[in-house]
């Protein structure tokens, strides 16, 4: 018998965790002598109060969707891919090479092939740790962390020494040609008669991220590969019994995971910066871990959690801009959200489970 209804599992528990995180954040804000109510108002109005705010919130959320989905897919095969950051950086390289060296006639072609470029590069960057894990037993957590540093170093070298245009002082590639520029939400919503902020960076990649979420859902719950991947994730001994090849599953799961992380670069590099800059990922690879934890590795949960973290990112930036609350406090708030929704999940879950069991017990006696 299940301990509590599904809605309590997916909605009630995270909601209570979030409220707890918010309450402690409020205490911290009060502790440094600021007004928590004003801070919340500022965050909400800054992130959600205007189409400009929404534009940024959704832009960040797009990044987190890709990296969150990447971590989720690996999670289902019981692998902890911490390398989303590096895979997204190298994905950026794939996107940039595609955009710079092939003269695309239209943004739609650029979007398709840059996505493929980003995915292939990200997947290849995940392939080496995957092979090391599958064949040599080198722990994927350790290798993917190391590959993050290697990605950063490699990109630094390429941007400073090779891809930087002559005479430029900036460690970045040249700007991508005009036809590759992606339509922003402003461009997309205009024909529908909706006035959306022109300067916000959210772009068509958001739709790509949502499509990726659907793809992941179908993959995990509707295909044979997804079945094998989940079986392997739940029990590798049972998977062996069933004839599921652990080497193949490990490598495929990491390729898909790395590919999704790599596609994040479409949003940052092709969609926003329109050139490849240093540190284009801005830690989104790591936020993806929190997003996957909070979203319970379910694509729908990942999308919701991504929007929440997009809100925290954008709201936090506004807070730092307009109040004397230091920027670091935003990291504290994000950390509290991760702590409560991820690490301390059972602290909330178990009392709620007991509550439901008690309710059901009394219900049984009445009936």
């Amino acid at each position: 018998m299940e301990k509590m209804p599904a809605w309590a599992d997916v909605v009630l528990v995270p909601l209570i965790s979030l409220l707890l995180a918010a309450a402690i954040s409020a205490l911290v804000i009060t502790g440094i002598g600021e007004d928590p109510v004003a801070a919340v108002k500022m965050m909400v109005s800054g992130a959600l109060g205007s189409t400009y705010g929404w534009g940024y919130t959704l832009y960040y959320a797009t990044n987190f969707m890709f990296t969150g989905l990447a971590v989720s897919v690996a999670f289902h095969a019981k692998m902890f891919n911490i390398g989303g950051e590096g895979q997204a950086m190298i994905g950026g390289l794939g996107v940039a090479l595609m955009a710079l060296f092939i003269p695309w006639p239209h943004w739609s072609l650029a979007l398709i092939f840059c996505s493929i470029g980003g995915a292939v590069f990200g997947a290849l960057w995940a392939l080496i740790p995957a092979i090391l894990q599958a064949k040599r037993g080198s722990h994927i957590v350790i290798t993917t962390i190391m590959f993050n540093f290697m990605a950063a170093a490699l990109l630094n070298y390429l941007l400073v020494s090779i891809l930087r245009p002559v005479k430029s002082m900036d460690p970045a590639t040249a700007s991508f040609p005009e036809p590759t520029h992606l339509p922003t939400l402003h461009d997309i919503l205009m024909p529908l008669g909706i006035e959306f902020s022109k300067s916000a960076p959210a772009n068509v990649s958001l739709l790509l991220a949502l499509a990726a979420a659907v793809f992941v859902w179908v993959l995990i719950w509707r295909t044979r590969l997804g079945y094998a991947l989940r079986a392997f994730g739940h029990s590798d001994t049972a998977a062996q019994y069933a004839g599921i090849n652990p080497v193949k599953i490990t490598i495929l799961a990491m390729l898909i995971s790395g590919g999704l992380a790599g596609m994040m670069a479409v949003n940052t590099t092709l969609g926003e910066a329109e050139r490849l800059v240093l540190n284009a990922t801005e830690g989104a690879g790591f936020i993806g871990i929190a997003v996957a934890l909070m979203g319970r590795s379910h694509p729908f949960g990942v999308v919701l959690a991504s929007i929440l973290f997009g809100f925290l990112y954008q709201g936090g930036a506004e807070l730092a801009l307009w109040t004397s609350i230091p920027r670091e406090l935003i990291v504290v708030i994000q950390a509290l959200v991760i702590l409560f929704t991820g690490a301390l999940d059972n602290m909330v879950r178990m009392p709620i489970e007991r509550l439901f069991i008690a309710l059901r017990g009394s219900g049984d006696r009445d009936g």
């Binding site: 295909t223 997804g226 029990s235 001994t237 004839g243 007991r354 049984d364």
Partner: protein, 520 residues
């Protein structure tokens, strides 16, 4: 084994343990319901019941792991609170768990004093323990070398260390939870001799088991539990196995299997000189050969860990080996190059693995997903690039119905079924595939008596349909009643083959201990 009479022993007035009206529930599950029991000092009291009947919960309450919702505990006539295991030890209760709580790389002596050291310095405690260990060993004839490292001892000796540990803590009441599960028959006999000796010295012993034979052999009184309730407490001399089984299950149970003579057909499986080296480089199978014909059950008897698991894994396709395996006369790949669990299934080999929770099922998958497990590449389960979940669910509910899996709900996760029903799920999946060869490991481990009957019937039906069956079990009774031929494994070798009607438990027990010559 005829010391069952209780005459001539001192029986004082107050019971050693008395439980009055013990109730305990976990959420909606009532594990113990108003249980009362009296155990007189100097007796062996058996507690028998199916899995989940509440035996372990009751003992955990007595040992301070759980707190009872209601009820009282009296030790030697005095009401006693047992909030934790320290209090249980102080009250003179010792517990020998099914899975030993020993530190493998400590010596016997170090294990004995662990948690009962007298001070910060070990030397005086060790000296004191050595002395009392020697005197305990003398009193109860339990010879154990105090300086031996525990992991180098046999399982039977490790169990003795557990008993000595309890006695060193002045236990007067000893609780043993399924103590013979890991022992050879002769080790079990030795254990029973020790227990009788302890009883004769005035100790009180509570034996938890699901084996009727042990209850009949050694206990003075027996309590039967069913679904959290104590259904009966009787003198062992006044009862019989059939009556106890009926009390456990709540209906009449067929303990004997009526077996027709085997209708042997052609040879379906032939294993030649199979050798397996494990990851650490140790030879686990040292040249195993046997064959099985259609319509025949070959039983592999042996104490767990003598190569039976490796044998099943090689046959099941997920361990590599040297030697040869012929299926239907044709050799199959055992190098692992071109073979895995999938290709074995295509050869008509179905496998009910020894450990259904770690291998046979994905515990977090729904029952319907588990019905497809291992056969998930079957064409019937596909529709284009997708899995045809509706078809799998349909198939699952039919199979679950035919195998009487309860509750018949294919959406429940595997872990929410009882052990017996989990096993029925695995059997339904494997047997319904109509395999030529069925590998079955420990088919009734952790399965209640009612389900055992059903599972045995299914295996016998498959035999009558002319299939070859390899049965691996540590339950000698099961091997003897189902098999057409019995092979005994010891230390990676087959010590000998016997016919069930021409052998007995004693002879098989000797083979299981690696002794081949007849010892008079």
């Amino acid at each position: 084994m005829t010391e069952n009479s209780t005459t001539g022993r001192q029986v004082s007035a107050a019971p050693a343990i008395e439980l009055v009206g013990i109730s305990k529930s976990f959420g909606p599950v009532q594990a113990n319901k108003d249980i009362s029991i009296r155990v007189m000092p100097g007796t062996i009291h058996g507690i028998i019941g199916e899995n989940g009947a509440g035996k372990s919960t009751l003992m955990s309450i007595l040992y301070g792991f759980y707190k009872a919702d209601k009820g009282e505990v009296f030790i030697a006539g005095n009401q006693t609170q047992i909030p934790d295991s320290q209090a249980a030890i102080a009250a003179g209760i010792g517990m020998v768990f099914q899975h030993f709580k020993l530190v493998p790389n400590f010596s016997v002596l170090e294990n004995i004093i662990l948690g009962a050291e007298d001070g910060a310095m070990l030397r005086p405690s060790l000296a004191k323990a050595r002395e009392s260990l020697l005197s305990l060993a003398r009193d109860y004839e339990m010879n154990v070398d105090p300086d031996a490292i525990v992991e180098e001892l046999s399982v039977g000796h490790q169990q003795r260390v557990e008993i000595l540990k309890a006695l060193y803590r002045q236990a007067n009441i000893l609780i043993l939870d399924e103590p013979t599960g890991v022992l050879t028959p002769s080790e079990a006999d030795q254990l029973f001799r020790i227990l009788k000796r302890l009883r004769d010295e005035g100790k009180t012993i509570i034996l938890i088991t699901h084996k009727l034979r042990e209850i009949m052999d050694i206990t003075d009184t027996v309590s039967v539990m069913r679904r959290g309730e104590m259904t009966a407490t009787v003198k062992t001399a006044d009862t019989n196995p059939e009556q106890l089984a009926e009390l456990m299950v709540g209906r009449k149970v067929l303990l004997r299997i009526d077996k027709s003579a085997a209708q042997r057909g052609k040879e379906l499986l032939h294993v030649k000189n199979l050798q397996v080296t494990d990851e650490a480089g140790v030879l686990r199978l040292k040249g195993v050969s046997f064959n099985i014909r259609a319509g025949e059950i070959l039983g592999i008897a042996g104490v767990a860990g003598n190569g039976q698991s490796e044998l099943l894994e090689v046959l099941g396709g997920y361990r590599t080996a040297q030697g040869q395996i012929l299926v239907n006369g044709a050799p199959i790949d055992i190098t692992g190059q071109n073979a895995d669990g999938q290709s074995r299934r295509k050869h008509g080999i179905a496998h009910v693995p020894e450990d259904r929770q770690r291998e046979g099922l994905i515990m977090d998958f729904a029952a319907w997903e588990n019905i497809a497990f291992g056969y998930h590449t079957d064409e019937k389960y596909q529709s284009g690039i997708f899995m045809n979940n509706a078809a799998i669910k349909q198939d699952a509910s039919e199979k679950m119905q035919r195998f009487d899996v309860r509750p018949p709900n294919h959406n429940l996760t595997a872990k929410s079924f009882s052990g017996g029903n989990q096993q029925k799920l695995v059997l339904a999946r494997e047997i319904e595939r109509d395999p030529d060869i069925l590998l079955v490991g420990q088919p009734t481990r952790g399965v209640d008596i009612g389900a055992i009957e059903f599972i045995h019937q299914q295996i016998m039906t498959l035999r009558e349909r002319g299939k070859a069956i390899l049965l691996v079990s540590v339950e000698l009774e099961e091997i003897m009643s189902l098999s057409d031929r019995i092979a005994v494994m010891f230390d990676g070798q087959i010590m000998g083959e016997r016919l069930p009607n021409e052998t007995n438990e004693k002879e098989l027990g000797l083979l299981m201990a690696g002794i081949t010559e007849e010892v008079a």
